[in-house]
């Protein structure tokens, strides 16, 4: 039973606005790459898990890939959908019941802020009707309080975004590939104070030799009573730990590694403030230390803690079903030493990914070149 799941092939379709494309065609292209990368045929796949937010059932993809009768588990967990699918596949492999699993995520969203009927989240109509059910409000309110409590500056929010856009310039699969300065980011249209347009992701999957990257741990947690999350109508003022903290701690415990041993990091940067908060909640720094880390450039590719080396959600956009798996793709690339001009120096051995989604769910992984 002590099998460790490994990622043996991966594929990606270029993130961006592809008005003319069926999202299933994009996903099928990425799956094809992953199969070639792994040296496998679709018929070899004996388990599948995947999810989308607005592109229908992920298993509709089977019409495009081939109707082999493979068990396909549809998963949906907001922006943590990709991480959730990965955990389902990991359990299937580790249990010994299955040997080759596909994990896939894809999406296609209309422009502007994502919107759902309030009933989808178990909320009353008045809440959405009066304009309170808007996700950027949550990110803005949370980071506003966090900046107040831990003395973080607007400049650090902008610098985190500036680094992500700089990283994406050399990522041919990214959506926004134009470098932006701190001043341009601060001066952009205000979406929800203090978050400007370029501090917020927009809703929006190469080939390499088969070197396994082991999935040392993957854990998911939902919100506990007492935390501020998306669509919290109320919460107790004595805040308990966030689902990101819980999921990250569980993932590190299962992996046998500590945050200090991680060489390359992906955290959910739905907005620039979320990146900074999530770095501390995942254990990579103390609350408030982000100011110095970001201001001194230590989260850049050549820094001590390289973060979102492919540009993160800010530069790639966030097609919900695909987004968490983009993080995995990037870390696999980095651990294989195939990051090209954005390769983290010094042969990184251990990587970490983190997603956070509405209404308060987080999934993390530790990936490693060592099983």
């Amino acid at each position: 039973m002590s099998r460790t799941a490994a990622i043996v092939g991966s594929g990606i379709f270029r993130f961006g606005r592809h008005d003319e494309l069926d999202p299933r065609d994009m996903a099928a292209s990425a799956v094809g790459q992953a199969l070639i990368d792994a040296g496998l045929n679709w018929a070899d796949v004996d388990f599948a898990a995947g999810g989308t937010a607005t592109a229908g059932l992920a298993s509709n993809l089977l019409d495009h890939l081939g109707l082999t009768g493979v068990p396909f588990f549809n998963s949906y967990n907001g922006c943590a959908t990709g991480g959730s699918s990965l955990i389902i596949a990991k359990l299937a492999i580790e249990s010994g019941r299955h040997d080759v699993a596909l994990v896939v995520g894809f999406d296609k969203h209309p422009r502007g802020a994502l919107s759902r009927e309030p009933q989808f989240y178990g909320l009353e109509p008045w809440y959405a009707a009066t304009g309170l059910m808007v996700t950027p409000q949550y990110f803005a309110v949370k980071v506003k309080r966090y900046m107040h409590d831990h003395d973080l500056s607007n400049s650090s929010l902008a610098k985190a975004a500036e680094r992500s856009f700089a990283n994406a310039v050399d990522n041919e699969n990214a959506w926004r590939r134009q470098a932006l300065t701190e001043q341009e980011i601060l001066g952009a249209m205000m979406v929800a104070d203090p978050i400007t347009q370029y501090m917020l992701c927009s809703p929006g999957v190469s080939r390499h030799p088969s070197t396994p990257v082991y999935l040392r741990a993957a854990e998911m947690r939902t919100r506990r009573h007492g935390t501020l999350e998306t669509f919290s109508r109320s919460f107790p003022a004595d805040v308990t730990s966030a689902p990101t903290h819980d999921a990250a701690a569980a993932t590190f415990a299962a992996s046998g590694l500590t945050p200090g041993e991680i060489d390359v990091v992906q955290v959910q940067d739905t907005d620039a403030g979320s990146e900074l908060i999530h770095l501390a909640e995942c254990g990579f720094c103390a609350h408030g230390e982000q100011e110095e880390l970001v201001q001194t450039g230590e989260t850049s590719i050549k820094g001590v803690l390289p973060v979102n080396t492919d540009g993160g959600c800010l530069a790639n956009g966030e097609p919900i079903g695909a987004s968490g798996l983009r993080q995995i793709y990037e870390v696999v690339l980095q651990l294989r030493g195939q990051g090209g001009v954005r390769q983290v120096p010094g042969r990184p051995k251990h990587g970490f990914t983190h997603v956070y989604g509405a209404p308060g769910v987080s999934a993390c992984t530790v990936l490693s070149t060592e099983g």
Binding site: E124, P125, W126, G131, Q137, R145, L228, S234
Partner: protein
Amino acid sequence: VISSETEVVLSPIAEGLFIQEDNGVVRLLASRCVSCESLTFPTQPTCPRCFAVEVKTVPLSSRGRLWSWTVQSFRPTSPPYEGPAEFEPFGVGYLEIDGLCVEGRLDLPPDGQPQIGASMETYAARFEGAVPALTYAFRSSGGDA
């Protein structure tokens, strides 16, 4: 309540969100768990902290302190948003009342920058939705909470 011919008496946007006392003071209604005493707004039939099934509806204090805030700067997607087609940015924040942080619309000061910790009160605000109605909102109360 007696209204003149030109004055329309507005209904609350939803039942059970708040009460308006005779002196005009507006108090939000929360559920208080009979076992662990934790408060939840809006009311719900079970306790989300300890899963007790016995809860009581209690009015919260009308005053609190601002926990955090932002400004909704673009018109939310409609539906489900029902505000006027001509959009005016509005404040959103959490007011800490009786140890509970409650989310709501927020009246912004002239400089648009309310202070975290500011004393505020709940009041009934006219909401120009598909059917005009009263919702609760937060505004500066000047004095201490």
